[in-house]
């Protein structure tokens, strides 16, 4: 049963991704991509990575795409692409993408790579079957503590960067007696 679930999900995901790329309206693109990102939780759950599936929906479909949708609804109506120009790039681009896809699939999914382990993954030992506990064991004890702290610094730097780039003082408010923003 898991196999047909995966097959159905895979077909829907690729179809939505292609549909997202060819949409003219950027909002439809963002919504379809949101569907793809949320739908990627299905393969994650089938790989027994439930925590990652939940985090994928929370972070990608629930925050990142919301950010995209907000930006598009604030800016996007003035940004339709002119379809008359630059049509010549389309065949070349499609060819490049096809080449990339076929190369990746052939190299990574081909039989030469599977030296270790079997093609059909066996069942996991007990701790690993509890994904959240396994994650905490891996992340917080051992070699990943420093990257965790660095990730928090990266997020802080990103927040500061966004505020610096976007927040402008309102016009005519350079006196000292303005109220706090």
């Amino acid at each position: 049963m898991a196999v047909w679930l995966f097959d159905a999900a895979a077909v829907v995901l690729v179809a939505c991704a292609i549909a997202a790329i060819v949409q003219r309206n950027p909002l439809y693109t963002a919504l379809l991509m949101g569907v793809v990102f949320a739908g990627l939780a299905i393969p994650f759950v089938l790989c027994q990575a439930e925590l990652l599936a939940a985090l994928q929906v929370i972070v990608y479909a629930g925050a990142i795409v919301v950010l995209f949708v907000i930006v598009i609804t604030m800016l996007g109506s003035e940004s339709r692409e002119a379809l008359e120009e630059q049509l010549s790039i389309r065949p070349a681009g499609t060819l490049c993408a096809l080449v990339v896809g076929i190369l990746l699939a052939a190299l990574l999914a081909g039989p030469a790579v599977w030296v270790w382990g079997s093609q059909r993954a066996e069942s996991w030992p007990t701790l690993l079957s509890r994904n959240t506990e396994a994650f905490s064991a891996a992340l917080f004890t051992g070699r990943y503590i420093v990257p965790v702290e660095m990730a928090s610094l990266i997020l802080l730097a990103a927040m500061v960067a966004v505020v610096v780039m976007i927040v402008r003082p309102p016009p005519g408010s350079n006196e000292k007696t303005t109220t706090k923003q």
Binding site: A2, F6, L13, V14, I18, I21, T29, A30, M33, F37, L40, P43, F44, C47, Q48, A49, L52, L55, Q56, V59, Y60, I64, L67, F68, V71, I72, L75, G76, S79, E81, A92, G93, T94, V100, G101, L104, A105, L108, A109, W114, G117, Q119, A121, E122, P125, L128, A134, F135, A137, A138, L139, G142, Y144, A151, L155, A158, M159, A161, V162, M165
Partner: protein, 116 residues
Amino acid sequence: MAAIPTSHYIMLSAALFAVGVLGVLIRRNAIVIFLAIELMLNAVNLAFVAMARHMGPVATKMGGATGLVDAMQGQVFVIFVLAVAGAEVAVGLAIIVALFRHKRTLDVDEVNLMKW
């Protein structure tokens, strides 16, 4: 219940990555290009998780605590990719909005001041 072969996950990941590449190459709207980049990141995430599941039993058999950490390595990578992607989207969208305020267009072909 037969398990899904890992190569299926990798092929799905390759397909999504290729669609992302297509989006970056074909579209001119900066936001759509950015979304295609995020799609590529997600495809790579899927590959990481699939490989973690594939290598998991082998790695844990290799022993002890490091075995567990090695088995979860792919999934730990994905967590970090999630965090960094969140930061990257925020900064990237801020750049796009700042660009839009300046040039009133989202077309990346218009951003060509440094072209000689």
